[in-house]
C-alpha cells in the first residue's frame, strides 16, 4: 500500500504554487502605485518623449509583475517560460513591418491627395 502511494507520488510530479499572502498584497500595492503613476502622466498632461517613455515603463513594470508573481511565471521551469514568453517577442518584428508600411501609406496619401482622407 505504501509502495503504491509512493509510486503515485512519484508519477504526479506537478508542483503547486504556494507563497505567502503578503507577497500578493505587496504586488497588488505596487500595481496600484504604477497604475496611479500612468494615470498621473495623463492627468498632468506630459507630452512628447517623456510621456511615451513613462507610459511604456509603467506598462512593462505592471505586465512583468502580473506575469511573474500573479501568474507564477517566476517559479516555473525555464522550458515553460521560454515557450510562452519568447514567441510574443516576434510581434515586435510585425510592429516594425507595419511601421514601415504605415509610413509608406501616409506618404502616398499626402503625395496623391495632399492630406484629404
Amino acid at each position: 500500500m505504501e509502495q503504491v502511494a509512493a509510486h503515485a507520488q512519484a508519477q504526479v510530479k506537478e508542483q503547486h504554487q504556494q507563497h505567502p499572502i503578503r507577497l500578493y498584497l505587496v504586488v497588488w500595492g505596487f500595481l496600484f502605485v504604477l497604475s496611479a503613476g500612468s494615470y498621473f502622466v495623463d492627468y498632468v498632461g506630459l507630452q512628447g518623449y517623456l510621456r511615451w517613455f513613462l507610459i511604456l515603463l509603467f506598462m512593462i513594470l505592471k505586465a512583468g509583475l502580473i506575469v511573474a508573481v500573479f501568474m507564477h511565471m517566476a517559479w516555473e521551469r525555464l522550458a515553460l517560460v521560454y515557450a510562452i514568453l519568447l514567441p510574443p517577442l516576434l510581434v515586435l518584428v510585425f510592429v516594425a513591418m507595419m511601421v514601415s508600411e504605415s509610413n509608406y501609406t501616409i506618404f502616398t496619401r499626402m503625395a496623391v491627395t495632399g492630406g484629404a482622407p
Binding site: 504554487q17 497588488w28 506598462m59 505586465a63 501568474m71 510562452i84 514567441p87 510592429v95 511601421v99 501609406t105
Partner: protein, 240 residues
C-alpha cells in the same frame, strides 16, 4: 527527501536547471513541461494564442493611427467625465483599471487559499473577483453607450480620424467579451469550490473526471491574462 524516486518513465525529481534544463526538458520523452499539469500547460498555450490575437488588434490600431493624415481624437478628452461640474480626464478608465487590478489581487489570493483547501474563503474570493469583473463590464457598457450617444460609430466620429471608432469598438469589445466569459468561468468554478467538489472528489458532470484545486489556478491564469491585456490597452489606446 534527498534521494529521488525514479519512475518507469525515467524521470527523477532532480532535473538540470538553466539552459541545460531547457534542452533536457524539450529533448526528453513524452512531456516537455515537467512539473506543470497538462491543464495548466494548455491554458498557457491558449493564452499565448490569445496574445497574438490582441497583439494583432493593437497592431491594426497602430497602423490606422500612423497612416491617417487626419488628427487622432484626443482620448484624454474623449473619455473625460464631468463630475460635480468639473471635467476630469480619463477618470472612468482609471477607475476601471483599479477595479481590474483589484480583481486580479483577489484572484491571486483565491488560488492561494485553494491550495490550502480552504474552500469557503476560496469561493468567497472568487465571487468577489466575479463581482469586480462584472462591474468592470458594466462600466464598459456605460462608456460604450456614452460614446455611441455622442455619435461615435465604427465609420465616423465627431472629433477626427474615422478609424478611431472601429479601433475602439473592436479592441475594447473583444476585451470586454473576454472579461464576460471570465466572469462566467469564475462563477462555475466558485460553485464547484463552494460545494466541496474538490474535497469529496466529485466527478464533473461533463467530463466525469475528478477535479482538484488546480483548476482555481488555471482559472486564475486566464483572469490575470485579461488584466494583463488591459494593461496594454490602457497604455496604447487610452494614454498614448
Amino acid at each position: 527527501m534527498a534521494q529521488s524516486v525514479p519512475t518507469h518513465t525515467g524521470e527523477t525529481d532532480e532535473r538540470p536547471h538553466g539552459l541545460r534544463g531547457v534542452v533536457a526538458d524539450f529533448s526528453s520523452d513524452q512531456r516537455a513541461f515537467k512539473n506543470v499539469s497538462w491543464g495548466k500547460a494548455m491554458m498557457w498555450i491558449f493564452l499565448l494564442s490569445d496574445t497574438f490575437i490582441f497583439g494583432c488588434f493593437l497592431l491594426a490600431y497602430m497602423t490606422a493611427r500612423m497612416s491617417t493624415p487626419v488628427p487622432w481624437p484626443n482620448p484624454s478628452e474623449v473619455f473625460a467625465l464631468t463630475i460635480g461640474g468639473q471635467e476630469i480626464p480619463l477618470i472612468l478608465i482609471a477607475i476601471m483599471t483599479f477595479i481590474l487590478i483589484s480583481s486580479s489581487g483577489t484572484m491571486a489570493m483565491a488560488v492561494n487559499f485553494g491550495y490550502r483547501r480552504d474552500r469557503r474563503t476560496t469561493a468567497a474570493l472568487m465571487l468577489l473577483t466575479a463581482v469586480l469583473g462584472a462591474s468592470f463590464v458594466g462600466m464598459q457598457a456605460f462608456e460604450w453607450s456614452k460614446l455611441i450617444a455622442e455619435g461615435v460609430r465604427p465609420w465616423e466620429n465627431p472629433w477626427g480620424a474615422a478609424q478611431f471608432g472601429s479601433s475602439f469598438f473592436m479592441i475594447t469589445g473583444f476585451h470586454g467579451t473576454h472579461v464576460s466569459f471570465g466572469v462566467l468561468f469564475l462563477l462555475i468554478i466558485a460553485r464547484k469550490v463552494w460545494r466541496g467538489d474538490f474535497d469529496t472528489e466529485r466527478r464533473g458532470f461533463f467530463t466525469s473526471r475528478k477535479g482538484n484545486y488546480e483548476i482555481v489556478e488555471i482559472m486564475g491564469l486566464y483572469w490575470h491574462f485579461v488584466d494583463l491585456v488591459w494593461v496594454f490597452i490602457f497604455a496604447f489606446f487610452y494614454l498614448w
